[in-house]
């Protein structure tokens, strides 16, 4: 099997193009897309696709609610839209369409309708202050009716995107700005290498299946997106100290791979959950509560959450560095659990 080393941006672009070739119903809806010489979306994911798919790329006005409603209407009539916003923070502008219409339409119809649409949104605290920074997963995980994916590698980004397009339900993919590997004028500083060897053959990554990024026996660290990469670094640090950490990347938040997490917790008996968003009401809260309900007998120490503080993301670099969980904090949390028992 031959492979090529691709960044997340390149893998997504290739995945989108392949799905558009495979299925003429797939269309792209977004802001600042499909313009020759343009940006190809905020982070270049759709750069150049207009050369092949000009009549299937709908470059919308700056109207996030409108474009999500547009995608929903097209999906109801049999199209398979992939709709994106420039920054996930802008999903708040689209909230009525996403939360009240897209998420509920099939259910309200008594299961008569299907809503085969994909939404994409970049997340991450990245030197832009408070309104281009949020990890929006925490606002959508409690919302029934939308599947939520968080690919942390190029392999997963392409494979999950393809699964999303073929899924037949609303699927929201959060992509991390520091993992994209965008180039040229849209390159991010502080980028982390999330590239993968991408097979030449068609492949998908199943929705709802997590993956063990690093095996271990003493403590389970659960983390997604950028935090997954930091957790793997922390695990290497811990190994040098004789602590064996298992890193789990859930990859899907809805549905969630509870079997994988519970199996790991049954083995390690200790859990650290890492997230880039404020701790209050975060993904960690949900995971911790479920483990308390169903796995309490396996735990020998409290569940530990490493998260951002309950404030908006600050701009100034020293404050931003303080805000985002880093390798040292993740490792310290694991050590603390080892000290307890």
């Amino acid at each position: 099997m031959t492979t090529r080393r691709l960044s997340i941006v390149e893998a997504l672009r290739e995945g989108i193009a392949e799905e558009m070739r495979r299925d003429p119903r797939v269309i792209l809806i977004g802001e600042d897309i499909g313009i020759p010489g343009g940006w190809g979306g905020a982070f270049t994911v759709t750069l150049g696709l207009e050369k092949e798919f000009a009549d299937r790329m709908v470059n919308t006005p700056i109207a996030e609610a409108g474009l999500m409603g547009l995608a929903l209407g097209a999906a109801l009539m049999g199209k398979r839209p992939i709709a994106d916003v420039q920054y996930s923070d802008f999903l708040f502008c689209a909230m009525d369409q996403v939360a009240n219409q897209v998420a509920k339409m099939r259910y309200m119809s008594g299961g008569k309708l299907t809503v085969p649409m994909v939404m994409r949104a970049p997340v991450g605290v990245t030197g832009r202050g408070a309104q281009h920074a949020q990890m929006m997963e925490t606002f959508f995980v409690p919302l029934p009716g939308i599947k939520i994916l968080v690919p942390a590698t190029a392999y997963d980004a392409k494979g999950l995107l393809k699964s999303a397009v073929r899924d037949g339900n609303p699927v929201l993919i959060f992509e991390h700005k520091l993992l994209y590997g965008s180039k040229g004028a849209r390159a991010e500083s502080g980028t982390v290498d999330a590239s993968s060897d991408i097979p030449d053959e068609d492949y998908t990554v199943p929705i709802g299946k997590g993956i063990v990024r690093r095996e271990g026996t003493d403590v389970t660290i659960i983390a997604t997106l950028l935090m997954m990469h930091r957790a793997v670094e922390a695990a290497a640090l811990l190994e040098a100290e004789g602590i064996s950490a298992e890193v789990i990347d859930p990859r899907s938040l809805v549905p969630f791979d509870w079997d994988l997490v519970k199996g790991s917790v049954a083995k390690t008996n200790r859990v650290v959950i890492v997230e880039e968003s404020p701790k209050r009401g975060g993904i960690g809260s949900e995971i911790a509560a479920t483990l308390a309900e169903e796995m309490i007998d396996f735990l020998v120490a409290p569940v530990k959450r490493v998260a951002a503080p309950n404030t908006p993301a600050p701009f100034s670099p020293p404050m931003e560095k303080f805000y985002i969980p880093d390798v040292a904090r993740i490792a310290a949390a694991a050590r603390e659990l080892m000290d307890i028992s």
């Binding site: 109207a63 609610a65 409603g69 097209a74 199209k79 839209p81 008594g110």
Partner: protein, 346 residues
């Protein structure tokens, strides 16, 4: 998608809703059977809504309701201009749209009762009535929420070169929502085949439209999008039909959307148990004299399309149909409680 520049059509001076318009569209040239069908469809909505209101006051029907009495000519006139292949989006006040688009009284009544036989298997209820098999998206009860969905359906028609249109019903209040601007702008720049149909019944709940809008006519807002805006007597079913037919023909020619303002009046409460104390007595009197079914009935008689016996027979038949729907819906099975867990994903 290209963005052709267009000159905005000037809105015409409307006739005030509560006054009898200067001239009604002539009935000559229309098939008498089709005319009496329009009358039948309006009476069906009225009798259905009156019966539902009674069921609510009796405490028999669950939930809440937003009713359509007085606005029947809007739904019936627009839907008469649409083909079965065309689609509509509706609002929190959707019963009339559903019946006019051809969803049966049985299916709507059963949905209001929350029965499994309802058009949404009891998962939608009054504010989410719909059946896409009949061309109606489950009604969107967030004001303005259906407008971009209609644009998206029309986008699909345009991209697939299907000769179909989408019509988005809304109340006057929806035109003050931000999503109105987003949706109508998108439909305009791409010349999408959409009818944006505003039923201006003068009140958003109890707030008079003049308190929340600076321009005299909602149709004036079309100029901002470079599309035609037309104010129509919304209690004249033929005038509504003709305006909608013209807008649909224009849309099918690829000329883009039209904003139709239908002047009408809600002769019942905004929602259940609303006594309408905010509607001045004189205004209500005029509105009742101007309500669309009585008006159209008088015209049918004057034009000799049918006689009083014919009109009575229509009403009698409709009453029986509604009564059967009520009996059937009440006898239909309840959903199993755990059915609540179904219909999430494909």
């Amino acid at each position: 998608m290209k963005t052709p520049a267009k000159k905005g059509a000037a809105a015409k001076k409307p006739a005030p809703a509560a006054k009898k318009p200067a001239g009604e569209a002539p009935l000559r040239g229309y098939d008498p059977k089709w005319l009496t069908r329009l009358y039948h469809d309006m009476v069906l909505i009225r009798e259905f809504e009156d019966r539902v209101k009674y069921l609510f006051l009796q405490g028999i029907m669950p939930g809440t309701i937003h009713q359509y009495q007085g606005q029947e000519a809007c739904a019936v006139g627009v839907c008469a201009a649409l083909g079965p292949e065309d689609v509509i989006t509706s609002t929190h006040r959707p019963h009339g749209h559903a019946l006019a688009k051809g969803i049966t009284a049985d299916a709507v009544m059963a949905e209001l009762f929350g029965k499994v036989t309802g058009c949404c298997k009891g998962k939608g209820g009054s504010m989410h009535i719909g059946d896409l098999a009949k061309g109606m998206v489950p009604a969107v009860a967030i004001v303005g929420g259906g407008l971009p969905i209609a644009a998206g359906m029309a986008l699909s028609f345009k991209m697939s070169r299907e000769k179909r249109v989408a019509a988005a019903f809304m109340g006057d209040g929806a035109t003050n929502e931000g999503i109105f601007h987003e949706a109508v702008n998108m439909a305009s720049i791409w010349d999408l085949p959409v009818l944006y149909v505003v039923e201006n019944n003068l009140y958003g709940a109890s707030t008079h439209v003049s308190l929340v809008m600076k321009v005299p006519h909602i149709a004036d807002r079309a100029a901002a999008y470079g599309i035609p805006g037309k104010t129509v007597d919304g209690n004249d079913v033929i005038a509504v039909y003709e305006a909608a037919r013209e807008a649909r023909e224009r849309a099918l020619l690829g000329k883009g959307p039209t904003l139709l303002e239908l002047l009408t009046y809600r002769i019942t409460g905004h929602s259940r148990r609303d006594p309408c104390l905010y509607q001045p007595e004189e205004e209500r009197k005029r509105a009742l004299a101007n309500e669309p079914i009585g008006r159209f009935g008088r015209r049918l008689l004057a034009a000799g399309v049918t006689d009083q016996k014919g009109l009575d027979a229509i009403r009698g038949g409709v009453k029986a149909e509604v009564e059967r729907a009520v009996e059937k819906a009440m006898a239909d099975p309840q959903p199993k409680p755990e059915d609540a867990l179904e219909d999430m994903f494909v």
